[in-house]
């Protein structure tokens, strides 16, 4: 277990002084303690915002030393971004934002005793816990698709080695091959992303393997941004992408790894490269800690993101029952901020205001053709409801789309600085 902490002697003295000079911030004896499980988008954001308040001890538990963003990983698959440019170390968070980072995994949570147990044996006590473990893939739901099968038919739905594997396969595929994407049922991480992936891989094929085809076998009958995607596919990649909804092919039942084929109720599809994106549920620790309901996701209070099942434990990001909020990095970041202010209010008595929850996703159709949606949400009747929604339209000028693609790049740089604490 590596224990990075920015607070060396000087920092510790500062922390102690703060506690003395501002006793009204202190609950009990020392500073209030928050443990955050998961240093992905939601977890890094909540740790950063709590750390910056300087009135709370923040410990972030994350097994990986770096985070590779899923957003923009489709650009990597198309050869348009390096994986290094999508990789962020957690040191900046530790150094610049007063957070202790422990490189380990949480294996158990004791909500009654307010403690977390780590794989390495450490026990951490907390006043409030924030859980942000992202998704778990439902291996086994498609017969034959397990972790070993994913080494041959990658999901690439958690960015990193899986993305590299899929990129390698796409690169070494012969021209004229069929790239099959099995798209998951709702709800899942980033609703437009399977279709963005099809678009950007088509962009790559168009340049280097123009006889190749992309087949999307969908567990659904419609998808997010469908009109915008289908319009773009006919403009940029005519005849290259075929989308087969569940009503035509039936459910995706099995994969045959040796034959690289995907079996649906009605048919078997042979692939040169198969990208299987299985159904999803909340990260495993959430399930283990009794934070999930029958849906497999974590129900939360939509103002504070406190679990409705385990008091004192907050859940943010992809793991939650999101209501109208999609499972996106933007949502996770937005929820994390609302959660940080709610946690601070409960521990230090700082003011809390109605949360402003947003989602604005940039989706690429081609490198210089992107669209956005922008949604605002508010709690209503215990769930997160959409208040306003705006989305790019079919028929927008190429100039508008080009500008949106530029905005996407600007967004990426600002967003990752916000999450991982760079640039400020």
């Amino acid at each position: 277990m590596t224990d990075w902490t920015r607070r060396q002697i000087g920092g510790l003295a500062g922390g102690a002084m703060l506690a003395v000079a501002a006793p009204h911030f202190v609950r009990g004896q020392g500073r209030a303690k928050v443990v955050v499980i998961g240093g992905g988008i939601g977890g890094a954001t909540v740790a950063r915002y709590l750390g910056d308040m300087k009135s709370i001890d923040v410990t972030l538990v994350e097994p990986n030393s770096t985070h590779v963003t899923c957003f923009f990983s489709n650009l990597y698959l198309a050869g348009l971004r390096s994986l290094a440019s999508l990789t962020f170390g957690l040191e900046t968070l530790a150094e610049g934002h007063d957070i202790t980072i422990i490189r380990d995994s949480a294996v158990a949570i004791d909500p009654a005793g307010k403690a977390v147990e780590l794989r390495g044996g450490t026990k951490l006590s907390y006043d409030r816990l924030v859980v942000a473990p992202g998704i778990a893939l439902k291996f086994g739901e498609i017969e034959g698709y397990d972790e070993d099968a994913a080494k041959i038919m990658p999901h690439a739905w958690v960015a990193g080695p899986q993305s590299e594997l899929l990129r390698q396969q796409i690169k070494s595929m012969d021209d004229g091959g069929v790239f099959v994407i099995a798209a998951p049922p709702n709800p899942f991480r980033c609703p437009p992303a399977p279709y963005e992936r099809a678009s950007l891989v088509a962009y790559y094929f168009k340049q280097f393997k123009p006889k190749s085809k992309i087949l999307i076998l969908d567990a659904k009958d419609k998808f997010s941004g469908q009109e915008l995607f289908q319009d773009a596919w006919s403009r940029h990649y005519p005849g290259m992408i075929e989308w087969l909804p569940s009503q035509f092919i039936g459910a995706i039942k099995a994969v045959d790894v040796a034959a690289r084929s995907v079996v649906t109720e009605g048919e078997t599809f042979r692939a040169a490269v198969a990208n299987i994106i299985p159904a999803q549920k909340a990260g495993l620790i959430a399930e283990k800690a009794g934070l999930t309901d029958a849906s497999g996701w974590c129900p939360v209070d939509p103002v504070t993101f406190e679990s409705t099942l385990q008091p004192g434990v907050h859940v943010i990001g992809d793991s939650i029952v999101g209501g109208d909020m999609p499972k996106s990095a933007f949502s996770a970041n937005s929820q994390a901020k609302a959660c940080a202010f709610a946690v601070a209010a409960s521990l230090t008595g700082s003011p809390q205001f109605p949360p402003h929850l947003f989602n604005a996703c940039y989706t690429f159709l081609a490198p210089d053709d992107a669209f956005t949606n922008a949604l605002t949400f508010a709690p209503e009747g215990g769930r997160l409801k959409t208040v306003k929604m705006f989305i790019s339209k079919v028929g927008e000028s190429p100039e508008t789309r080009r500008r949106t693609a530029l905005h996407a790049v600007g967004w990426y740089s600002a967003f990752t600085a916000d999450v991982f604490g760079g640039g400020s």
Binding site: M53, H356, K388, D418
Partner: protein, 123 residues
């Protein structure tokens, strides 16, 4: 008609801003008295809402396609936000954001951002 309404909102915001400025003056004294607090992040309403801006606006980079807001003054922010509130073009993202803020929230956010910019300009 629209213009008149906008002007009314601006002047209301001005009044609010003056009030907020006074309040901030008072709390600034309190902070100066307990100097150890000075490094802690603000948790005022303006700061909490401004945190959402940081999801898209880079804290330091000026050259990105999304315009920087770190150096804008209060009036410029209020004016821009009222224009975004009125029209889906040029940015439906900002239109959605602007519609979600009440006049009071907008005033508090603009005040916070402008104060932070001012503090940054001081040597």
């Amino acid at each position: 008609m629209k213009r008149v309404r906008r002007a009314a909102i601006v002047s209301r915001v001005k009044g609010l801003a003056a009030e907020i400025r006074w309040l901030l003056g008072v709390s600034l004294c309190a902070i100066l008295l307990s100097a150890a607090n000075s490094a802690a992040a603000d948790v005022s309403q303006g700061a909490q809402i401004a945190a959402t801006c940081a999801s898209c606006h880079h804290p330091t980079d000026g050259g990105q396609a999304i315009p920087p807001i770190a150096t804008l003054d209060e009036q410029a922010i209020v004016k821009a936000m009222l224009a975004f509130r009125a029209s889906e073009s040029p940015s439906h993202v900002m239109h959605a954001v602007a519609l979600s803020l009440s006049d009071d929230e907008l005033a508090a956010t603009a005040r916070y951002l402008a104060d932070r910019a001012n503090a940054g300009r001081q040597p």
